[in-house]
């Protein structure tokens, strides 16, 4: 990984985007699934395995992402690689919004 100093501008921009998206998604998950108690939620926490999300939770998360970031998520994109941690979600939304 290159440091922020020698990253090219578009990389830097997407890093900023990812952080902003991550924060917004984190707030949403803490408020809606963790009843405000988000101390243990790390960027890499596996949301299904730790019981934070279940099937319904995933559908609600998808609906939130579509409205908050103005993207359309296809059925084929609802996979763990895109949605199963804050890191994955942020990277996925950055890719979608490009």
């Amino acid at each position: 990984m290159s440091s922020a100093y020698n990253a090219n501008p578009s990389q830097l921009l997407s890093a900023v985007d990812e952080t902003a998206i991550g924060l917004q998604v984190r707030t949403y998950i803490i408020d809606n699934f963790l009843l405000g108690a988000g101390d243990h939620l790390q960027d890499g926490t596996q949301l299904m395995e730790t019981g934070i999300l279940d099937s319904t939770g995933v559908m609600e998360l998808v609906a939130f992402l579509e409205s908050a970031f103005d993207v359309v998520i296809a059925e084929e994109e609802i996979i763990p690689e895109n949605l199963n941690s804050l890191d994955n979600i942020s990277a996925f939304i950055v890719r979608k919004s490009r």
Binding site: D54, T56, E75, I78, I79
Partner: protein, 513 residues
Amino acid sequence: MLVHHYLRDSARQSLGKPAIIIANQAHSFQEIDEASDRLASGLQGLGVRRGDRVATMLDNSIEMVIALWATLKAGAVFVPVSPGTKADKLGFLLADSEAAALIASTDFGQRVEDATTRVSFDGVTIWVGDKIEATGASLSEILARPRRPPADPGLIDQDLCLIIYTSGSTGSPKGVMMTHRNIYNNVWSISTYLRNQPDDVILSVLPLSFDYGLFQVLTGARIGFTVVLERSFAYPYDVLNRIAQYRVTGLPGVPTIFAKLLQFAPFEGLELSSLRYLSNTAAPFPAAHILALRKLIPQVTIFSMYGLTECTRVSFLDPSRLEAKLTSVGRAMPNSETYILDDQGRRCGPREIGELVVRGTSVMRGYWRRPNETTSTLRDGDIPGEKILFTGDLFWKDEEGDLYFVGRRDDVFKCRGEKVSPREVEACLYELEAVAEVAVVGMPDSTDGMAIKAYVVPREGHVISEPMLRQQCLRRLEPLLVPRFFELCTSLPKTESGKIMTAALRSSLRAAE
């Protein structure tokens, strides 16, 4: 005639064949037979005796499968608890069943510890995953011991095999007692009409804490077929791709699962040519979905079925009559008989609505330590001493004897194939001081079958909000029971005696549909 003999026999006959595939890992019948011997000996070493209850709080996993077989081999009764269960209810189930052991994932450590502390649970906890407490044992330690066959507990087929808790109209869950003889009969009957073969590969996303899910594993062991287990259906695209990956032949589901599958229509990205059958139970299969699936996957046989935990399964529609009788659930499965009784206890003729009654070896022993509920559900049949099961479900039959579901006698309804007791959800909302009155009803929904809706009246001088109600439910109820819709209102329709008329609320929802 003991259920765990299936595993022993398949381990001998099917040399190295995968019994379970989960997370791309295959586990043979032999491997599971050996691991469950170790755990069965471990359970006996921890004091578990014939007839004791062993509860589990586990997601679909190889550990859950091992726990099932080990419990039976040790002579104990398997009590699977849904992993979404909150601490209060888990505590109730542990106390009610007087479990001697609980096998639980450390992922649910907090809830398990809250529950065991609250009810002063004096059984042993066996942790799956990293051991987090000084108390309890560790599954991985037990499984690392040398293999030693468990002591023969001396079971006969009248001994209890499973206790599965189910919601009732009163809101307090009741344990359905099934003997080895019940389960042995039901696995035989179901796999006979489904024509299961050793070369079947079944994809199961159903929770193993639900009898429909558990039966996939039990049947797999009887027939010697492979079950591809999934933890959940949260990522349907991944799950559906397993059909091509493992050449899956059977997909058991509930309407919610098939509704999800149909969102991928016309299935261009999915390879489904290996599928031989789909089976539906737990909630009515919408006719439109049956027709769409028949058209899109023409080689597939669709089994429309009906059952209840109290006898596992009641009926199935012969697939050759499906086209003509889209909304029927057919006739009694092998070695069962059904009839419909009116309020006076007379047998109904064709097209008369009454309560469905089941007789046969499939019928449960009763509700665990609930003599009153048992007497009202299991009543005397025509043969002295025989008990027949009153299902609480209203049905009619056509001139050829095929059955059609009408509804429940009580307020219980099914959301995503699972029973919802409105009383349980209402009790949770009544805990809020600001809530004066609540009525919970099922609202027809194309995906959930019935979605949960709560009407709430605030107490005078108090303010309530939807997020506040939702948070209370999330805290106290398993995710399935959290209402999807809340409606705040100033009053609820009542009878002259002041009883809330939920029937009026339900019919207003149907009218709005």
